[in-house]
């Protein structure tokens, strides 16, 4: 890759490789992974570039082992990342629950593929529920970031480490196979732009000067366990100030497309096509899927006529959109499943039909 590190740099890269390179520049100290398409490039890139730049990189015997290695390394104070694709992320759920409960910082990358089951290696967004509602057992959440470009695949590594260390809540970057595989121009921040944080709670060996540190998620007394839950819930509430989203022409929009990740890019095309036809369409793109940008949707519902949520799944985020809009305006859904990507034309047709039947003749 030539000389890297010292300065910011612009180049053409695959999403997965940009994310891996960004992780190193963001000061990652350990990575644990297991091969699965369409994200294996992350492990392959890191095994070449990681060790010589000071990061542990280890191919585990399974995703179960890998996520528990993350638990160990994160508990011992390292800046840690792990990546996989849908079936592998399913396998990690017990470990993710432990990590969330023990409040260990780490970044988990899901380069989603179509399911259920072994499914397909084509891109999908069908792990939305799993990502934003917790995924494993117990009441916990992850901070979920949804990139929609190779640039954001890289940028969100920095945001991810920053957020996870600030809140001690694991971060998930919810990407998909298309973003992982596509090549785009990307500007990479220089090495060292994200200073390491102090972790006085980590298990690094107990000096005489402090009490022992221990990492655990066990609280056998229900009163204590509820306290821990209340503490977690307070932190999730605090997360509201980290809500991020992007708006396109929502001010004058009659109909607002709501989409994240790759679907949001498709919706940009749909919006342009619609506006050419004289339909005032806009877009809300949630960037943080948890915390979810409910407030802005609620505000927009005051003046927009309807919403059309577009996803590469059977309709998952649409439930959160409906909760936010709370019946004020109709919320429609257009999705493709199993690794199929909706075309701008088919989304436009749906949008035109809503405008025709719901808005004009309402």
């Amino acid at each position: 890759m030539g000389s890297i590190n010292g300065t910011s740099e612009t180049k053409l890269m695959k999403g997965n490789e940009a994310l891996a390179e960004a992780a190193l520049r963001a000061g990652m100290q350990a990575y644990f992974g297991y091969p699965i398409t369409p994200q294996s490039e992350i492990l392959e890139y890191l095994i070449i570039h990681g060790p010589k730049r000071g990061s542990v990189v280890l191919q585990a015997e399974s995703e179960v082992a890998a996520i528990n290695m993350v638990y160990g390394a994160a508990g011992a104070g390292a800046r840690v990342m792990i990546s996989s694709s849908s079936p592998g992320i399913s396998l990690m759920q017990e470990g993710i629950s432990y990590i969330a409960a023990a409040e260990l910082p780490c970044v988990i990358v899901n380069v989603q593929r179509g399911g259920p089951g072994l499914g397909t290696i084509q891109p999908a967004q069908a792990d939305y529920f799993q990502a934003v509602k917790g995924g494993g057992h117990g009441d916990y959440r992850l901070i979920v970031l949804a990139p929609n470009s190779v640039q954001e695949m890289a940028d969100f590594m920095f945001d991810g480490f920053r957020l996870t260390e600030q809140y001690r809540i694991p971060v998930m970057i919810l990407s998909d196979g298309a973003l992982g595989q596509m090549m785009e121009k990307v500007t990479l921040a220089p090495d060292g732009s994200l200073p390491l944080t102090q972790k006085p709670w980590a298990t690094t060996g107990k000096p005489a000067s402090r009490e022992r540190n221990f990492i655990t998620s066990l609280h056998i007394e229900p009163e204590m366990m509820e306290e821990v839950n209340l503490h977690l819930q307070r932190k999730y509430k605090e997360l509201q100030k980290e809500v991020r989203y992007e708006l396109h022409h929502t001010d004058d929009a009659d109909i607002v497309l709501v989409a994240f990740g790759l679907s949001a890019r498709i919706c940009e095309k749909v919006m342009d096509l619609a506006r050419e036809k004289g339909i005032r369409a806009g877009i809300v793109r949630p960037i943080t899927l948890y915390p979810f940008p409910s407030d802005i949707l609620r505000e927009i519902a005051e003046h927009a006529g309807a919403f059309l949520t577009v996803e590469m799944n059977a309709g998952q985020m649409v439930e959160d959109v409906r909760l936010a809009v709370n019946g004020k305006k109709p919320v429609f859904f257009k999705g493709r499943m199993g690794g199929m990507i909706p075309t701008p034309e088919e989304v436009l047709a749906e949008l035109e039909s809503i405008v025709e039947h719901q808005l004009l003749h309402a």
Binding site: A65, A76, T204, G205, R212, S217
Partner: protein, 258 residues
């Protein structure tokens, strides 16, 4: 007892690597003794500041309440994965796991084999009591043939439930295993031998030459429904024939000079 001025001398005391917390283990259980021996070695070797322990789900899940060192509790079966994470980011520290037989030889078998196969430079302490203690005495992979447990109420039927798994012999075959030994704590002599093995293992860990693995053949008076004395007797008569104490793999001479 306080000092030697009145002619008395302290011959034994609790080491500072153990907390004052009362252990929750059943009377006569091996866990407390094994805890104590490990902590004595860490104290005596002066490596408290450099040692991190990992104890997974099982009766010893609360080890961090008793061991006055930095500790991680781990998911059932994943202790050595967590320990791998710890050791890889702190290669200069001493890392050990403390696992039951259900943990190490059933749900965590994959982790056990691959951790040793990578030659992770850690110590694995494997407390084999032949049952799942924490969940109430169910059948473990190490349960003896014919042995009654709550999930083998008519005795372990080898034809349908498999044979007792001698995982220690299995992992000794892996090139990543540096030192593999089987010990016990049913007698004072045995406790002394275990202590020696733990000491040796931490010495070996400094050499960075592979995994050290100590099986401790243990009792479970509650799970076995015996008195502590009966259980130690039963252990000698029934566990030892299947799990004979002694070294299984020792490093070739130049490994350590002591």
């Amino acid at each position: 007892m306080e000092n030697s001025t009145n002619g008395l001398e302290v011959v034994y005391e609790k080491v500072p690597t153990l907390t004052d917390t009362l252990m929750h283990y059943c009377p006569g259980c091996s866990h407390g003794v094994v805890h104590r021996v490990i902590m004595e070695v860490i104290h005596e070797m002066g490596i408290t500041e450099q040692t991190i322990g990992v104890a997974p789900v099982g009766c010893s899940v609360f080890a961090y309440n008793y061991m006055n060192i930095d500790m991680q509790e781990a998911a059932h079966g994943r202790a050595t994965a967590a320990a791998t994470g710890v050791k890889r980011v702190h290669p200069d520290k001493f890392v050990f796991t403390y696992q039951g037989d259900g943990d190490l030889a059933a749900i965590g078998t994959g982790e056990t084999i691959h951790t040793v196969n990578r030659g992770e430079n850690i110590l694995m302490v494997f407390v084999n009591n032949g049952v799942y203690g924490m969940t109430g005495g169910q059948m473990a992979p190490t349960t003896l043939a014919g042995m009654k447990t709550t999930t083998s109420p008519f005795g372990r039927d080898v034809a349908t439930m498999g044979s007792p798994l001698r995982i220690t012999e299995l992992i000794a075959n892996l090139p990543g295993a540096l030192y593999v030994t089987r010990q016990s704590v049913h007698s004072t002599a045995a406790v002394r031998k275990l202590k020696k093995a733990i000491q040796l293992s931490f010495e070996y860990q400094k050499l960075n030459q592979g995994t050290c693995f100590i099986e401790v053949v243990s009792n479970c008076p509650s799970g076995w429904k015996m008195t502590p004395v009966e259980s130690n007797q039963w252990l000698v008569e029934n566990m030892f024939p299947v799990y004979p104490p002694g070294d299984i793999k020792v490093p070739k001479p130049p490994a350590v000079n002591n």
